[in-house]
């Protein structure tokens, strides 16, 4: 009986080792992170944060990942689920950066800030965000000297009076207001 148990233990141990060797903890943590590379956790990118978590940092510092990421990481790390650390931001819906193009002065500061090269443009030329590439990381908003970048809720485009519309239909129709 004892022997059998020992054999079982050996086998399971071997198997688990195999699995962990294939997918190291850092990789799995990195997989759970949203990859927006926003740096809100205080690390330059998601992978460095994943490394840091694997070394013991708290896993509740990722606002763009939402509750799901927190749950996933807690399960992965076998930790109790904690709420998002408010020092690192709030949950919010996925949004993308949109440049108000008539106000852009072509300073290229946002281009340098973008972690995924999602902004097109040259010095003194108008810039634009490639919407499909944008991670919604927010990093381009702060460096813009003329504040012409807005974060727009992308999945459900809604118009309110406080934020300018994502597609300005009126101007596309040539209507002056």
């Amino acid at each position: 009986m004892l022997l059998f148990a020992l054999v079982l233990v050996k086998i399971t141990r071997y198997l688990t080792r195999q699995v962990t060797a294939q997918k190291s903890l850092v990789n799995r943590i990195n997989r759970a992170l949203p990859q927006t590379q926003c740096g809100q956790c205080g690390h330059p990118g998601c992978l460095p944060y994943a490394r840091s978590i694997s070394l013991g940092e708290a896993s509740n510092k990722c606002p763009p990942g939402g509750q799901e990421t927190i749950l996933e990481l807690a399960e992965l790390l076998n930790e109790p689920v904690r709420g998002l650390d408010p020092a690192h931001g709030q949950f919010r819906d996925f949004s993308v950066a949109v440049i108000r193009e008539d106000e852009c002065i072509g300073c290229t500061k946002c281009i340098q800030a973008c972690p995924v090269d999602a902004i097109l443009g040259g010095p003194k030329l108008m810039h634009t965000v490639i919407t499909s590439e944008c991670t919604g990381c927010d990093l381009c908003v702060e460096p813009c000297p003329v504040d012409c970048i807005d974060m727009i809720n992308h999945l459900a485009p809604a118009i309110s009076h406080t934020t300018p519309p994502y597609f300005d239909l009126r101007s596309s129709l040539g209507v002056n207001t």
Binding site: P34, Q35, Q37, E103, I105, C107, P157, R170, L173
Partner: protein, 544 residues
């Protein structure tokens, strides 16, 4: 089986197709009798129309008229191009003559409650119309001609989804169609527009159905109606008899009265016995479904040559003195219609667009009716109230019995609370049609549908982010690689520079270079400052 059917049809006295039992369903009190007391009325022309031409997300809009322009009734105002979504264009026509005063975003009375771009038309009251091109004998037209005429008339699905009718018909040209089902089930409480339409204008609906049948090249046309609507059934039978000098074009199917019998896939199963698999389209099974209102609009589009400028809308609710069905011009404000029904403003608690189970609350009575506004309810304080505080789920399973998709709402609720996406998907959350039957029966009055909507949204976001995370990671790594490469290149250039200059035997003084650098940097920063100032000035001006 076919002989059995024939026997049954003889026995039942109409050309009957067996209606099959579908899963789930509820039988709420329908409250339709109030609005069916009077006949359909055409509304007087309101002084102002707000004609919706499309939501921001719906597609590209081509405007054909300008502000200040005088337009005539039936004149084409704009075309919504849906080609990006693989659909055909939908034109919008002027419901009456007048002057266009403005074009702006405003709320429209439909389910999404999104703002839509609307053309404001100040009515001149002359109702001057463009000449129409009627095609009294539709048999002369080919199916492609019918489809293009229907498209040009701007006919969309009048049932609620608003899918361009021409597209549904065009899809039929690719696949052979066996059944055209005219959906007259209208199972949702309060809504009686289709029933009223059939009661009074069954002949035209049948003619419209025949047109749709020809346009989609369907072999059989079934008109499916709930068996609790005797007047409408009698009218259809009469119309079919009038029509059927040679051979009846349509068959009448009575479906058992329950909600949601009129949901597309449920009705198809009820009428034909075919269960449309998740992700499949009915046309793949040779079935196409159109609403009664769409059939009527097709009749108008072909026989009268009239574009779609009105629709039938039920006005009901206890705050109205005389609830009734209206033939409403597209763009009429909800409040105008309420006034026509003698609204008691102090009694009205809220307005709802759509039925009591799938409708949504209308924030503003100025909202304009659109082509999919089938019902407007002015609810008094003792009807259709938000449920009291939800109690705990006791897992009674009434919701599972009511669910037409055979889901397990009680389990979905539990998984929604823990955001267990794997289980939610496993339990078919995405098959939920949001009919509200589970909410209706829930003894704990839990807002189930709202919870599922949230979970669906969550899953959608989550899927989106998962799909993208790999890609973003790649992009990020590529950028790091690029930045490093550029740095390396710059470094190597710097290292190589003195070598090159020595080779050129004309070493430029180092300081000069620095100075040039400095000057250009200074210049750049000055430029930027100037640009910032310019933008600020412009913005200030705008704000003024």
């Amino acid at each position: 089986m076919s002989t059995l059917k024939q026997l049954a049809s003889k026995f039942l006295g109409h050309d009957s197709v067996f209606a099959r039992r579908t899963a789930g369903g509820i039988q709420p009190p329908s409250f339709k009798e109030h609005s069916l007391r009077s006949r359909i009325m055409s509304t007087p022309i309101p002084p102002q129309l707000t004609i919706p031409i499309g939501a921001e997300s719906s597609g590209e809009i081509t405007r054909l008229v300008d502000i200040g322009e005088q337009v005539l009734k039936y004149q084409k105002l704009a075309v919504i191009s849906l080609s990006a979504k693989g659909r055909s264009d939908v034109p919008v026509h002027a419901p009456t003559s007048g002057v266009i005063t403005s074009i702006e975003n405003s709320i429209v009375a439909d389910h999404s409650q999104q703002q839509q771009l609307c053309i404001n038309l100040t009515v001149d009251g002359h109702d001057k119309a463009l000449p129409l091109e009627p095609h009294t004998n539709h048999a002369q037209l080919s199916s492609a001609d019918l489809v293009s005429l229907i498209r040009d008339a701007g006919v969309i699905g009048m049932g609620g989804a608003g899918f361009p009718a021409a597209d549904k018909l065009r899809a039929c040209s690719v696949l052979p169609i066996e059944f055209l089902i005219i959906n007259a089930a209208e199972c949702e409480p309060y809504i009686s527009a289709d029933e009223a339409l059939l009661r009074e204008r069954a002949n035209r609906v049948v003619l419209g159905a025949e047109i749709l049948k020809r346009a989609s090249a369907a072999q059989r046309c079934l008109i499916a109606i709930e068996d609790t609507k005797p007047d409408a059934i009698a009218a259809i039978k009469q119309a079919l008899q009038n029509e059927a000098s040679h051979q009846p074009c349509c068959e009448l199917v009575l479906v058992p009265s329950k909600y949601p019998a009129g949901s597309e896939k449920q009705l198809i199963q009820c009428v034909t016995g075919i269960e449309i698999a998740t992700g499949q389209h009915p046309t793949e099974h040779g079935i196409v479904m159109h609403n009664v209102g769409t059939a009527y609009a097709a009749y108008e589009a072909i026989i009268e040559g009239k574009p779609c400028i009105s629709r039938f809308t039920t006005l009901c609710g206890q705050a109205l003195k005389t609830p009734k069905n209206f033939e409403v011009l597209i763009g009429t404000a909800a409040g105008f219609l309420f006034e026509l029904c003698g609204i008691e403003a102090n009694k009205k608690q809220k307005s709802i667009v759509g039925g009591s189970l799938m409708g949504s609350e209308l924030g503003n009575d100025k909202a304009a009716t659109c082509k999919t506004t089938n019902c407007l309810i002015a609810a008094s304080s003792n009807e259709l109230q938000a449920p009291k505080e939800a109690q705990a789920c006791i897992r009674c399973g009434y919701c599972a019995d009511a669910c037409p998709s055979k889901l397990l709402p009680q389990q979905l609720l539990a998984f929604s609370k823990t955001l267990d996406t794997t289980q939610l998907l496993e339990h078919g959350l995405l098959d939920c049609i949001e009919c509200g039957a589970c909410d209706y029966v829930c003894p704990s009055q839990i807002p189930l549908v709202s919870t599922y909507k949230q979970s669906k949204k969550f899953i959608k976001t989550r899927r989106h982010s998962l799909e993208y995370s790999d890609y973003w990671q790649q992009r990020f790594q590529f950028r790091q690689y690029r930045v490093k490469k550029e740095k390396d290149q710059a470094l190597s250039r710097k290292l190589n520079a003195p070598l090159q200059s020595m080779q050129a035997a004309e070493p430029a003084p180092k300081g000069q270079n620095d100075e040039a650098d400095f000057i250009s940097k200074e210049q750049a920063s000055r430029d930027i400052a100037a640009a910032v100032a310019r933008v600020k000035a412009r913005r200030n001006e705008k704000n003024k």
